[in-house]
Symmetry: C2
Subunit: 335 residues, 2 copies
Amino acid sequence: MGHLGKQTIVFQNKPVILETYSTVGPKEGQGPMGSVFDTVLEDELLGEKTWEKAEGMLIKQTVQGLLTKSGKRQEDIQYILCGDLENQINSTQDGIKDFNIPFFGLYGACSTMGESMSLGSIIIGGGYADYVIAGASSHYCTAEKQFRYPLEYGGQRPLTQQWTVTGSGFVLLGKTGTGPKIHSITTGKIVDFNTTDVFNMGAVMAPAAADTILTHLKDTNQKPEDYDAIITGDLGQCGTDILLDLTKQLGTDISAVHQDCGLLIFDNQAQDTHAGGSGCGCSASLFSGYFYQQLKDKKLKKILLVPTGALMSLCSTQQGDNITGIAHAVSIWCE
Amino acid sequence: MGHLGKQTIVFQNKPVILETYSTVGPKEGQGPMGSVFDTVLEDELLGEKTWEKAEGMLIKQTVQGLLTKSGKRQEDIQYILCGDLENQINSTQDGIKDFNIPFFGLYGACSTMGESMSLGSIIIGGGYADYVIAGASSHYCTAEKQFRYPLEYGGQRPLTQQWTVTGSGFVLLGKTGTGPKIHSITTGKIVDFNTTDVFNMGAVMAPAAADTILTHLKDTNQKPEDYDAIITGDLGQCGTDILLDLTKQLGTDISAVHQDCGLLIFDNQAQDTHAGGSGCGCSASLFSGYFYQQLKDKKLKKILLVPTGALMSLCSTQQGDNITGIAHAVSIWCE
């Protein structure tokens, strides 16, 4: 069908999600979703000397896991699209360089899984590749040290704060084959809701999520109930409350079908993770490890995955600027 | 035609470059190319309080300039794809947020213009949009303070070092219309040549440029002489010497048709810019301001634009890692 409505593409040749692979850290492995991931790491360093090299190795092992699980060689893959939260997507570059696959580097903060799956789908849908790998990653230690405090400082965490997930998820998209298909994508715009609190990312991302979800439903002429689940990336408790309020105020109640990866991945009480999980690795690992299997098992037949990003930069927040948000929706149907 | 050879797409529905807009800083305006740009700024601050806000304004003015020059409204544009060199592409987010256009954020270091034009072409070529804006930006003051020394420190610059261009270039890609067309793209892989010198970006990027150019020629079964010009992004003098040596050693002499934006934009002797210009804004502004007009005037009929990026991160270089490179080629034909 091509472009539909304001911001949506409905694919005529629907890209197939042929396989996924997920890797998470030990804390994520101890959480309520611990059993769904392909690999749970024993520690956060993966035998490396720095957190950044560790995140690179996390990405490398996840991509290698995906290739092995799907029986593909790196030469079979025409493009890899991915990113992480580090400055200059440092760990992504390090993690994927040895695969020798043409690379598009992305920065969408925690919305990166939505961005990579969207652009990967456009490449496949347009007939420009047979196989594309898309993914995202985050690491608690690289993110906290870069965006907030040195880990050793032990800064007090406000209750609105979320816990950056150490995790990575990658998917193999194909032109043909068996598996859940990407029906449509809705690409987000930058949303500025005048938020400046670096300890409340949920409040930054919720308005962007609301904008993208409502635009998607309007563009495709659907109701929330047409989906078995509308899954936001990492709004956590604060962001989820805001999203449900906002969408209701705007005339659409999504509460019956809404889930949030940031609320699923940890037990906030028992694991002391306050408002929930966050980071690009949160939705990336949970889609790859959990929702993909639910689709394959036909427990869910139609989902809207909406990774959500807070476009926070240390430099701009120190200069007093607002933190803006973005969210990209990927509609996945089991046929 | 779709995917061809190892890394190349030849477009059946060739995206048209309908319009371009370029903005540069005062130093670039005083250089040998000063007269080709749409706007030359009077100072590097654009009335803003910080360099980062200034780069955001540079981007905003360039996108606005492109919309005005092309007679398009922001509602006509389905996607905008762009990036800069700042952490979390901070200024890009700030510069484009008010346009309210669905946004894909990219990080390809100084290869970003190649990445944005490539992905924009895939969207248009696949029939998923009528109009897409693609671009890139860099700013001397934001880049130097982030990657090297505070400007006030006045660090001695080695002769291998380049001068980050304050500049931005954006292009309007369309499905139909009159103008030079994007014939094909060759997407680069990450190339690691064991380089660690943060003051010699040319040496990092040259092997990536060689890899992408030679792959493009092989994939499309062309010789260097089939092009009126093969234009690298910002190799500068050191990188250009390495590129010409490397390609010759690998059996292909590109010296008769090679040009480098980093060598064109400044008078290195008179302007004290050492090895030449650099930054994503270098190839972005020079393609948008100069090469596009040369194509429209039929002075050049067939060019290969190869923006080149050094995937440098302060964190990884401080940890002793190699700096890797990447280059994306865009083949543009005047019919």
